[in-house]
Assembly symmetry: C2
Homo-oligomer: 524 residues x 2
Amino acid sequence: MRKMYGIALALCFYLPQQLQAQEEKVDLATIEKIKQEGLQHSQVMDIAFHLTDVSGARLTASPGFNRAGNYAVQQLTQWGLTDAKLDPWGEFGKGWELQKSYVALTAPYYRPLIAYPKAWCSGTNGAVNAQVILVTAKDSTELLQYKGKLAGKIIITERADTVKLGFKADGSRYTDEQLAKMAGAKLEPTDTAAMRRRREMFMRGNGAMRTLTLLKEMARAEGAAAILSSGAKNQDGTLFTQGGGGYKATDPENFTDVMLGAEDYNTILRLVKAGMPVKLDMDIQTKFHTADTKGYNVIAEIKGTDPKLKDEVVMLGGHLDSWHTATGATDNAAGCAVMMEALRILKTLGVHPRRTIRIGLWSGEEEGLLGSRGYVKKTFADPANMQLLPAHEKFSSYFNIDNGTGKIRGIYLQGNEACGPIFTKWLEPFHDLGATTVTVGNTGGTDHQSFDAVGLPGFQFIQDPMEYDARTHHSNMDSYDHLSPDDMKQIATIVAGFVYNAAQRDAKLPRKELPKPRPAGGMF
Amino acid sequence: MRKMYGIALALCFYLPQQLQAQEEKVDLATIEKIKQEGLQHSQVMDIAFHLTDVSGARLTASPGFNRAGNYAVQQLTQWGLTDAKLDPWGEFGKGWELQKSYVALTAPYYRPLIAYPKAWCSGTNGAVNAQVILVTAKDSTELLQYKGKLAGKIIITERADTVKLGFKADGSRYTDEQLAKMAGAKLEPTDTAAMRRRREMFMRGNGAMRTLTLLKEMARAEGAAAILSSGAKNQDGTLFTQGGGGYKATDPENFTDVMLGAEDYNTILRLVKAGMPVKLDMDIQTKFHTADTKGYNVIAEIKGTDPKLKDEVVMLGGHLDSWHTATGATDNAAGCAVMMEALRILKTLGVHPRRTIRIGLWSGEEEGLLGSRGYVKKTFADPANMQLLPAHEKFSSYFNIDNGTGKIRGIYLQGNEACGPIFTKWLEPFHDLGATTVTVGNTGGTDHQSFDAVGLPGFQFIQDPMEYDARTHHSNMDSYDHLSPDDMKQIATIVAGFVYNAAQRDAKLPRKELPKPRPAGGMF
């Protein structure tokens, strides 16, 4: 998951670096060993292989998630970590997996289609061959004209998606100019006009969404076979597919909703609009897992050794869950692999950290940071009431990776200005690896926010964008081959350095002011 | 199909343009009407819709090709063209179509795979679930160790294909600099050293190909289920797939050969190499059509009206056949649609050309320019003996489009320097549409070469590359949505102008020297 906001370009972010840098001590000899181990003897791609190719898709509570979680527990234990376990964080809902998906055009001619049922959808009633019907209704009144016409049909709706010819590269790295802009950013006051505009857009979208929900209810009631979907970026065989509705234990199964690429979707739409009979074969089987509806994170530790500091905790992590159409390599096996590798590096070097270092590989991130929120709530504080648990006081910081496979270029302070000079100093030994930038800006949409929401220092690194937005993020192409091994090694190395520094530092990292209780619980 | 060669950058190509331009007359009033009709009232995308979405894939001699051919004959007739017909050009071979293709990973977990059987392959023996076996043999001796081990298996071989992260845009248009280089090119003497290197590379490739052929023979003999393939550009869900072997009436069916993307291929390869059991579901049904093994082109005419010139012929065309995994939109429905549209424009304007204008929409181009070669051989001359038929003398010129959907930027002279000043003049009214460049260089790999091979002026236009190489050329993404409507309108307009000029010109277009007979028949 990724969202970035809150960065405005303005006056340079001034820090008394010279002064602070003198105060901030870094154990450069150990950092050098970390670099050696992380860059020359990396195992990060082997870890990534197990999290992707070997485990498969890791939808929360699915068998693939459990395979990856069990692998992580076993691997972390093998490296000598302590108390490695699948740790329940609360109620999630149903597991789900695809057991068969065959979708093909059969009239006016045969062609297999690239197609993915959305997660948590029902399958078809066995193998069906069904005619496609176009539904153009824009509201519940217009829907009435389709009453009694949907039985046995596959529904298609009007969409404005077009294929964009590829004159822009999928991937990029940050330029020096872009990094300089980030470094010069200052925190932006809340733009209420922009928020209002977003809310209005959301409400308009919501109207269409309500009509679609009604259509799906009608489709299910009348015994339609399925509905077809597409998306603005679905092209070239790269399809972005998420969930098809609720996953809670009490939610009903969602109506079969099948994602297509714009090329196929538009072909079907054009043919139907030209009055030509279009038929599809569909044979979709899905399975819901309801035996255990709890959600689990992977937790493991390297125990601290300093008598005064060993009960204090530095955390690192990323979400282990993914969407279901590939193996979630950049979102977010990458983040989990580098975090595991960071711990392997530290264990291999035999470091004895002063503070306890703890890894959290979260689940339910794609459904709303659920695993990390659950963990923070039970361990540190509930943002709804901000009643602090004892561990809140003992917490130093959390470092997260969830922006794909691109190497680290710096770190977001998340508004925690006091950490600026510290991280500036910590980055110095990594300048030769391209990591130089400290920005006061926020980055949102992932698990460091769960910590930030209860006033704990939670950070995410700045990573080169690579092809994350164009090709891999929530897509069927988010697989091992889209990982960049050299970037992965760099990330693991720098994370290991940051975590080590945080564990060794005399003081915990500075904090921002405690936030007020937010009963609504909104974190984004 | 596309290949470009023979362009060297050197001294500017000098032509006495001023002088020639004065002599070359252009009917600017009609050209202006052509531009109006072609740009303001275009039907080219409707034609493209029928050739792609409505007809489907157009593999030579397949039902899809026949649908498109029949549509073209009917549409050209409806516009008032004469003698529109499917014209046999000789023996082609078997038609082939895919009737079912379902391929999915079932162990270590389930995932549907993007997969395409190569053309002219057998299907599987019903629905099979088969284990994948890795064959690493590099020659016939090493193959022996797999003897007796292939029954019921799906074969995978080592491949070096990697996914390239997309730091380069898929698509481009020619820059002014590139066009200037083309304009300044001169014909290159044959580079025998380069030819030798290419031959050596081919022979090396041929060694691997021979081992693969032996492996497939062994696989079939032992009852293996299928073999997996991939390709250097197969990634992001875009797969480039051609034929799996012979298609002649006497050729046996080819062993089931299934193309995968690098992401899936490499996942399977890594898992197998790590010793993990990998299984696939495959259910592939293919159908061979053998009732009529002749090849057919679409031919139609606008009869000439000048008593002295009406038996002379100007031709325009492109190949109608495509590969089978999409609808061959840019290769080459685009070329056929613009040629048909060019004729529609001329018929709509009610022009009465002095010479006869004839369209040829070829088949068998993807198998080696077979349709246009067959047509040229029966109509004008056999390049093997160069005995000229009477129509050879009566032929003015042939204009071809087969480089995708990008607009015309100029024209290749194919070494016919005498046409330089003529085309320079003809392009003038189209400078505002971006078409300015005349290059003496060759472009190869498509049907104008069949004319060129018997000394007839055959030309192909310079087109903006767009995403042809990266995304559409022989791929499963070569579908209607990858066409650029504005570019298509421009192409049809300029082609109509060129064809009209060639039909009205007092003299036929100048020719190069007649080539010597080439008994081997090699045209590329």
